[in-house]
Assembly symmetry: D2
Homo-oligomer: 348 residues x 4
């Protein structure tokens, strides 16, 4: 069996989560998130977020969270802006458009939104023959592993407020971003610098689950109607709450994310020492080394990972993803496998 560096959701959940679910299993509770576990989990998250007007909702997955949030925030003629690699733009099967909203694509810089491009796009969209740009979608960590600094986020948020734009952060890998080398953002900083964001559980040790935080009170009204209408209101809502309780009552969320980053960092450092270059510099749990295609073929025998894109006729960038569950032994074996097969080529 191959060891997988394909993604950060290959295993089940951190054992503490299964344990918490097992311990509470036979207690009766109300349905649809109106139970005491949900209350408790929210109260703990509110402490982390530390933004009094924020409202938290627990949802099952990322695409679901994005589509429910964005379709509830926007009027029918309003559009989303995202970078061309944005998850909602390319990997959610047109989920946002299926709710009626266009996504306007910008090139971006290192996977992140770039204000001069926003300015140009706003200038272009001048009248009722075009959609009205209204919400900026960003991901942190981005789809290629990069992160936003506190200064970048605050500048972007001020720009958005000046332009009457909403700012939304997809936090599928927020744990990785917040524990990355170079990060200076906290959950509470984010809550104060976006209109809404979500804290991803699925890719950081939960069985499933995302915690949507709506900071902007004008976007909060009737939100549970939208969750239900889009099929996102889990009957046993407590399952989401118990997972987030476990993740946040003792900082497990951050510890797990840090482990993923550390494992990725180890691989990245070793590969650099071996002379490999990278498609992008990533401080989080997704890294993108450039490998000779012959090496890729060899590695694929024992390891699972995605080929990201061709860099030349003979080389391609691959994506390696680590997680809370990545074993240090697997990292070492992988490096050895690289060393073994590529030593000769690289020595020259």
């Amino acid at each position: 069996m191959k060891y997988s560096f394909k993604n950060d959701y290959a295993e089940g959940a951190h054992p503490k989560i299964l344990q918490a679910l097992t311990e509470t299993n036979m207690l009766q509770s109300d349905g649809y998130g109106l139970d005491s576990f949900s209350e408790h989990a929210k109260s703990i998250l509110y402490k982390h977020i530390n933004f009094p007007q924020a409202q938290v909702h627990f949802l099952v997955g990322g695409t679901q969270t994005n589509l429910i949030a964005l379709s509830s925030f926007l009027r029918p003629h309003e559009a989303v802006i995202a970078v061309s690699s944005g998850h909602i733009l390319v990997h959610e099967t047109g989920a946002i458009e299926a709710t009626g909203h266009k996504i306007l694509s910008t090139k971006g810089k290192e996977g992140k939104i770039y204000i001069p491009e926003l300015e140009a796009l706003l200038k272009e969209h001048s009248d009722e023959h075009m959609v009205k740009p209204r919400l900026v979608y960003i991901s942190n960590a981005s789809e290629i592993g990069t992160i936003y600094s506190k200064e970048e986020l605050e500048t972007l948020y001020r720009f958005c407020k000046d332009q009457n734009l909403l700012l939304y952060m997809d936090g599928a890998r927020l744990g990785a971003a917040l524990t990355a080398h170079g990060n200076n953002l906290s959950l509470s900083d984010i809550a104060a610098s976006v209109d809404a964001f979500y804290i991803g559980g699925t890719k950081n040790g939960a069985l499933f689950g995302e915690a949507l935080v709506i900071s902007n009170p004008s976007l909060q009204k009737d939100f549970r109607f939208f969750i239900k209408q889009k099929g996102g209101l889990l009957a046993k809502g407590r399952l989401l709450a118990i997972q987030f309780l476990t993740l946040f009552q003792d900082n497990l969320f951050f510890d797990l994310a840090k482990h993923g980053n550390t494992m990725a960092g180890k691989i990245q450092k070793e590969l650099k020492d071996l002379g490999f270059s990278f498609f992008i510099e990533s401080p989080t749990n997704q890294i993108f080394p450039i490998f000779p295609k012959t090496l890729i073929e060899e590695l694929e025998k024992d390891y699972g990972f995605y080929v990201w894109e061709d860099v030349s006729a003979s080389e391609a960038a691959v994506r390696l993803v680590t997680s809370w569950a990545t074993k240090e032994d697997a990292v070492k074996s992988f490096i050895k496998a690289v060393q073994k097969s590529s030593t000769y080529n690289l020595k020259k």
Copy 2:
């Protein structure tokens, strides 16, 4: 703490399910239902269903399943027909309409669709100024606990085929229906007599999960696109598979449902013996005794349940729901509580 007869999803999951999730937890698998657990679970379900062209998809919840299935089966001008108590019509926040489709309401009979009403409705919808009726939605067990017989279902299906209508069965409580006194349908009968149906896990011992069965091959194409587009493609799809594996490899699904029915049957019998009448005769795990309002008030101190509707100024029907998790002791205590408080009134 009150004992709840409010619904069949008040507890977590049957312990065997948590055990199976725990045992498989650290194994790596591919995401989005493309893993070996999903293959295995489907192969077991296919044996139960025994309908070669059927296709199974695992989804998280009932509203999600209904909206994904119906919106993928219908063209924009096509409408759904349901009885006025149908779950999609009243308790899913307009989820079907939100995908663009009208639901036409018929009165029905004992919570079930009534063919003469279908005929009248089809006659009325004669041209392009009206929607085109295209899919009949039924629930088995129905929203008031009644069930369809094999003959009823087959007659309805033939009618639908004659009229170029699709037939869809919401099986949120299919376990209860299939193990009810008087039932003569099997999963395989159903697969042969509907275009699609789902087998409900959430209300029968799973943490969550529904298995959608699409019998009609013309409705199967590209179905995974729809799941993803509506936010229903669970990253760790194995979670659904492992649950259904556990439920179906040793008939646990049927055993759990039978227990729920037995508990409801006990309450129903005892209440009848005490002289109470019922809003509807139900052979499944939802029962609807008519109680004096004074009795309701007393019972509400120790038990959770819903008041269904007023029957007179002094009496109301209540809904009591049992499940795989209902304790026999709780049933006995409840009957005692009724006996105690109402003895005198009823003796007369």
Copy 3:
């Protein structure tokens, strides 16, 4: 060739309208309603409406107007309430649902909304598992020819405001309503007692065209985006403006409607004198006499009209529609035809 009493759009337009279009034909103007004709037409309508914050938009047809208005006024989870005969509920091919909104049906009284039913419906819709009732749709004249009095409309509007509901009037046949015997509403009364309404041109002498009046400023924002997005922004917007200019600069609109009502009134009176009864008492240009089916068959040889519904095995209500274009001679001939064929039956 049969003479048609089928509807009020069987002819082209009042000759003055064609004349106005011809006279202005070769003048150049800006597109999409941003021309001086549109400005002028609006200024004349604003005088009639006499409600300073109102905003007027010209649209091509009734279904288009309803769907653009309602889908722009509502958030995705909000529903419309209409009587069961409401045009949007039965004769617009699910146009409103196609924009994502459920329409809740109430029985109504004489084709009009009935407040006690609204109260019951609001009480039922209590939580996020159901849609949120938000807009009351009425038609004036109603689909069966009845009209709202000033007192009725004001009471309904106050009720709506108390309940946080929007009130919308479909005025496809508003001309007929405002010139009916018994009417005490003016355009300016209506503007003050609804959130939005439209003044129907198509059924009152225009080639096509409806003037949507949005009284409630909170519903006005970005409305032209919605018109364009739904395909309703006519390139040569002046065509709509020139027609409304012609209709409203000399009260032609009211004169035409009055003629239609007068013709219907004549038929109604004569038929009553002949002893016929009516399905509903209508003061406008749609009337619903009850005829023996044998008579219907005879009349159908020379006249076009719709059979509305069976009243008994031998009798049915028919709908006769008159208009600005109905010829008095045709009315006389029709009455004669009735007299001739049914004299004997009715004498008894």
Copy 4:
């Protein structure tokens, strides 16, 4: 008053159209396109189209036609492909997305779709996490005046059929394309080489109106339901029919388009002789000369036109549009105005 070269819908209609409407005005006809004028107009168009399985529907405007056609042809997960200048992509306020479908943008070549880009795009869209490309949208003439040759269209159609793609042609300016210098396509060629297209009336002498031709029988079913549901079924459908009758019974449609092209050709030739270069070489009624900004300012005093885009700090391309109604005198005066103001600069 300025003379407008802004667009091809600045005037009303060709006088013969108004005359035909006036002559038929008081005849009664059935509503919604079920009248004898519609039958007649279709029969004449069928002769031009000469493609037995084609079906014609008359609609009011271009955006309406595009959104009704595309949303009826596609299942919810299917996407449209268009060039980045495509009208549906930039100037229809997200009308297609509002019906739930993503539009995938390609760069294109001279305003036309480019097959190698289609191939790349199809390769990228490999699984259910992405939308499924299904329909290729082209415009002829394109948004920048260029046209497709018979060979180009046939090659593209074969490619589409090989790839299971539908091909749709927006013919808002089809008259201009079919009468352009260099064109070798006929209506009947087009009918045989696309799945659907429309023949634009609005921009070629009608008051309004587009004739949608659906060549592919599998896309024809229930189409009138879609027209009605989206608000496009004109009550007095005869208005559309009478206009198309007038345009097509004596080739008026082609004569009018040719006049527009001739006028544009004259301007283009004269400007070339004066030494001006062009943003794009266009054989149709939209031309794009590059002018010094100082000249643009001067011309704007007497002429209406759009500045298309900056070419350098001192120069910009402008768009001049001619039509059936463009007066030769206006063309001459415009050229004189250019000569007068720019003579000196250009002589050097």
